[in-house]
């Protein structure tokens, strides 16, 4: 089975044309295009790069060319500034190689970063100017004058043609020159700081600002830019991969109002950790969000987030399915059906509920009256699960006739215990654990969206896998069993992929600790809380990183957050000196199928407590989640 979780739909590898063609406007984008600084946070695959790329002039033009699209007019021009892990590793390597001169390393780092920013600015100017196919003299004149300015601002080597492409080539040569300089320095081990070219000492904000002002100066008279307000947004992607000095500088910029023509649109992981000195106002970023800065969280952690995600996912799935079948109207519900507890229960042959009654009125207790499926299920579980029976007694609910007393009890107890009962009934018989493979817990349109937990990349991978199980000619609903099987496998593969990440392990006193083990320990604890241990209506389904967790483990958790394995559920701080400490997380819903957990968020417990309990119990080593029924 192909599982293309991380290779499908990666905006990093897509052209602006492909990004614009597949783009779906969502609420995060609408927040991002506002006329203020933005800090867009989210795990890998949540769509940050796509959103940033859709701020560039070329992407907007391509989008607007499609008359079926809602027209987008941005109040600024976005300059997309990329970064990636390869680049980060190159910097790390540089630090190691030039460890004898940290000052020189810092200068090199700045030159490379500045060059990257300048190149992105030049690319944006190119998009604005070269796509127009203009041949009038004014256009060439303004362009030439702009280029002459840029040559001076960027301190490029002369003689050079005053042309954007020539400037771009010159910037590439600059990188080659820097590499040569590094090689020479490695051999001679001496650095003459006084002889370094002037561009070594430039500051990126100043050169960016000057470049933008030059553009305005030359093109404000131009008819093509009549409507422009000449505002720019520097869009830094994956801030967590940038050098630390740049991260700090950019975070500080969020608070500054120096040049109102320049906005900053930054993306990063769900928690931005800055350890060094920041302006004290900057850490109070949240308090200022109503004023100048927007913190946009691109993951699902509350009802509103899920509602928006479902809306987006619907459109996304529709397009994906349309392309697959090459047909215009295919209902997602027709393919995936709706989640229905009936189907889950009916898959278990040992549950023989006869003469079920289905009340069709809309009364508050319709689904729980005597003779209904839920009524039978509660009774059944009360027989097989002593602790559950005890719970019912404690709450004065008869296990012979478990009907809710009133609406209050309905909401506080019956509705709340429903998913727990469904799960426990599958895994407990005669007060003992019972193994079951491939229970069809995960199917139906809403579940598919929810299991992807706000992550378009997961959704894309999952839908592709589900579509592969269908027939192209006869479009039928994919059975719950099939859907669940696909989702289980993806969940399993997801865990494997995460655990193979090079940073997912560390050595501690000769022992290897890794993210996979951590996730499994947490997952098992949650499973026990829900299924194995005595029944509780408030099982533990999330954890808090308390101070009992050592720094290495905290780093693993941070990686898990970045990769989307852990979801930050009470986001109070966007920028934190504590990092993951004192924050609450749950497992990504994409992990839940692996641990047979319902797609629900439950109470939190300190992580150090969880790990202590799991280590004592040794259940982790014995229990095989995929074993067949005994």
């Amino acid at each position: 089975m192909d599982t293309n979780l991380y290779h499908s739909f990666n905006a990093r590898n897509l052209s602006l044309f492909e990004v614009a063609n597949s783009f779906i406007i969502n609420s995060q984008y609408r927040d991002l295009i506002s006329l203020n600084h933005s800090l867009l946070l989210g795990p890998r695959g949540c769509g940050k790069t796509t959103l940033l790329k859709m701020l560039t002039p070329q992407a907007i033009n391509l989008w607007n060319e499609n008359l079926n699209n809602e027209k987008i007019i941005l109040p600024f021009y976005g300059v997309y500034i990329p970064t990636d892990n390869q680049w980060k590793k190159q910097f790390n390597q540089l630090e190691k190689t030039l460890s004898f001169s940290p000052d020189f390393t810092m200068l090199i780092s700045k030159v490379i970063v500045n060059t990257n920013i300048i190149k992105s600015i030049v690319s944006t100017f190119y998009q604005l100017l070269e796509n127009s196919e203009r041949e009038d003299d004014f256009y060439f004149k303004y362009k030439k004058e702009l280029c002459i300015d840029l040559i001076e601002i960027f301190k490029l080597d002369k003689p050079i043609s005053p042309d954007l492409l020539a400037i771009e080539l010159s910037l590439r040569n600059r990188i080659s020159n820097v590499n040569e300089l590094i090689n020479k320095t490695l051999i001679t081990k001496t650095i003459n700081f006084g002889e370094l070219p002037d561009y070594f000492y430039s500051e990126f904000f100043d050169i960016s600002s000057n470049a933008f002002h030059s553009f305005k100066r030359h093109f404000s008279k131009d008819l093509f830019f009549k409507q422009s307000n000449f505002r720019w947004a520097l869009c830094f992607d994956e801030l967590e991969l940038a050098p630390e000095w740049l991260q700090e500088s950019l975070i500080n910029q969020l608070r500054s109002r120096n040049d109102q023509t320049i906005l900053f649109k930054l993306t990063s992981t769900p928690i931005v950790q800055i350890e060094k000195n920041l302006d004290e106002n900057t850490t109070n970023l949240e308090a200022s969000t109503l004023n100048d800065y927007g913190v946009i969280r691109a993951w699902t952690y509350d009802q509103s987030g899920f509602a928006k995600w479902n809306e987006f996912a619907d459109k996304f799935a529709f397009e994906r399915i349309k392309n697959f079948f090459d047909k215009s109207q295919i209902d997602t519900e027709k393919l995936f059906g709706k989640y229905d507890i009936d189907k889950v229960i009916k898959s278990d042959k040992s549950l023989n509920f006869n003469d079920l009654i289905d009340f069709e009125d809309n009364q508050w207790d319709a689904k729980y009256r005597k003779g209904t499926l839920m009524w039978n299920l509660i009774k059944h579980l009360a027989i097989h699960d002593k602790s559950f029976r005890g719970y019912l007694s404690l709450n004065n609910i008869s296990y012979h006739n478990p009907i809710p007393r009133d609406e209050n009890q309905m909401g506080k107890i019956f509705r709340k215990m429903k998913p727990i009962i469904i799960y426990r009934s599958q895994f407990i018989r005669n007060n003992k654990k019972r193994g079951r493979k491939n229970v069809p817990f995960y199917f139906g349109v809403n579940n598919i969206y929810e299991v992807c937990d706000g992550n378009p990349r997961f959704l894309s991978g999952l839908i592709d896998q589900l579509l592969k199980t269908t027939q192209l000619k006869n479009i039928e609903e994919i059975t719950p069993e099939k859907q669940s099987e696909v989702i289980y496998r993806i969940s399993e593969r997801y865990l494997e992929i995460i655990s193979s990440h090079p940073d997912a392990s560390y050595e501690n006193r000769g022992k290897i600790n890794n993210l996979e083990k951590l996730i499994k320990e947490i997952g098992m604890f949650f499973y026990d809380s829900l299924i194995t241990n005595d029944f509780t209506i408030n099982p533990i389904g999330s954890f808090i990183v308390d101070n009992g967790i050592d720094k290495n483990l905290a780093n693993l958790i941070n990686l898990g957050v970045r990769l989307g394995a852990f979801v930050y559920i009470d986001p109070k701080e966007a920028i934190s000196e504590n990092g993951v400490y004192e924050k609450a997380f749950r497992l990504s819903y994409l992990m839940h199928p692996y641990f047979k957990l319902p797609l629900r968020e439950y109470n939190s417990r300190n992580l150090s407590y969880i790990l202590r309990v799991i280590k004592k119990s040794n259940v982790f080593d014995d229990f095989n989640l995929f074993s067949e029924e005994q």
Binding site: M1, D2, T3, N4, L5, Y6, H7, N10, R12, N13, R44, P82, T83, D84, N85, Q86, W87, K89, Q90, F91, N92, Q93, L94, T97, I108, I112, T115, N116, K119, S120, S123, L171, R172, I175, S176, V178, N179, I182, N183, I187, R493, E496, I497, I498, S499, S500, H501, P502, D503, A504, S505, E507, I512, N514, E516
Partner: protein, 315 residues
């Protein structure tokens, strides 16, 4: 100096060539000394790099064989360091006066990646008015198939290889080219780490189908996740052809990508990756290693086949 030519030569031709220098790796593998015995080389400038660690019975046997010739320079060296190679090359080359051509034999069958790359790294920054051409003869003794050890899943570290990685701008996405070996998790991990479009190279069945099958089995998940058109097979015995496929892919990809080469499998492929990285810009070679050492040592017996790649450096 720069690389001006690479070509595979028949191993028999080694017998007729005169080498100014030769280097051998001495480890626990029986094939460590296979070429040495075959050539019966009696040079003044033989260097034997002997691993400091894992000095078992095989290693002692190999070492004693090399020691039989008092002219051999035995250097106990760290597989993670290239300083001994640098010093040896430096000492020799600096002494040469007006030489048109220098021939150096390198039996890299039992060498680490650091060692085998050290020669290339050195020559790239070497400049001399006295020497116009240096030919490196990289010789590899193939081994009989042996069942691989279980690769560790954790403790993987990835890093660019020193000398084969330059600073570049991240304005193009990364394309990752993996030479497939037994370390399945390393390949998946790196692919994920770089968030890159992945291309896979693995051996075809022209030489050892057992090896090919075992590698494919080991990496079945990764192979499913990579697009079919991104998977390339190469004939390990035909180095010229393998290089042409690799070179063709690299030059095409470079139009729209930066490239990371991660050779996890056969050393011949690793060598080609190192060469291409020096020929082309924006092509980095990365090492993937596990901090968890596999306890079991696998001996590799020579099967008689030797592949030789001649790499020519000129000013």
């Amino acid at each position: 100096m720069i690389i001006t030519n690479t070509t595979q030569i028949e191993s028999e031709k080694l017998l007729n060539l005169k080498f100014n220098l030769s280097f051998y790796g001495c480890g626990y593998e029986k094939r460590s000394a296979y070429l040495y015995k075959l050539l019966n080389v009696n040079l003044l400038n033989n260097f034997v790099l002997a691993f400091g660690a894992n000095q078992d019975k095989n290693f002692i046997e190999n070492l004693n064989l090399f020691k039989e010739n008092p002219n051999n320079n035995i250097i106990i060296s760290d597989g993670e360091k290239d300083i001994d190679i640098y010093n040896s090359l430096n000492d020799f080359l600096k002494e040469q006066k007006s030489k048109e051509e220098i021939n150096i034999l390198i039996d890299y069958s039992s060498m680490t990646k650091i060692w085998m790359s050290a020669f290339l790294k050195y020559l790239v920054s070497f400049n001399s008015e006295n020497i116009s051409r240096v030919n490196l003869y990289y010789s590899y003794s193939h081994s009989k198939f042996s069942i691989p050890t279980q690769a560790s899943k954790h403790g993987i570290s990835v890093m660019p290889m020193d000398g084969f990685c330059k600073l570049s701008l991240p304005d193009k996405p990364t394309a990752l080219i993996i030479g497939l070996g037994y370390d399945k998790n390393m390949a998946t991990g790196l692919s994920q780490y770089l968030d890159a479009e992945s291309y896979i190279f693995h051996t075809d069945n022209s030489y050892s189908n057992k090896y090919r099958t075992s590698v494919l089995d080991e990496n079945v998940d990764l192979l499913r996740e990579v697009k079919e058109e991104n998977i390339y097979e190469f004939p390990i015995l035909d180095i010229n052809y393998t290089q042409s496929i690799l070179h063709s892919l690299l030059t095409d990809l470079l139009q729209t990508n930066r490239i990371v080469l991660a050779p996890c499998g056969p050393k011949i492929f690793t060598l080609l990756c190192l060469v291409e990285s020096l020929i082309l810009d924006n092509v980095d070679v990365w090492r993937i290693s596990s901090s968890v050492s596999t306890e079991k040592i696998i001996d590799k017996l020579p099967d008689g086949k030797i592949s030789v790649l001649k790499i020519t450096f000129e000013n």
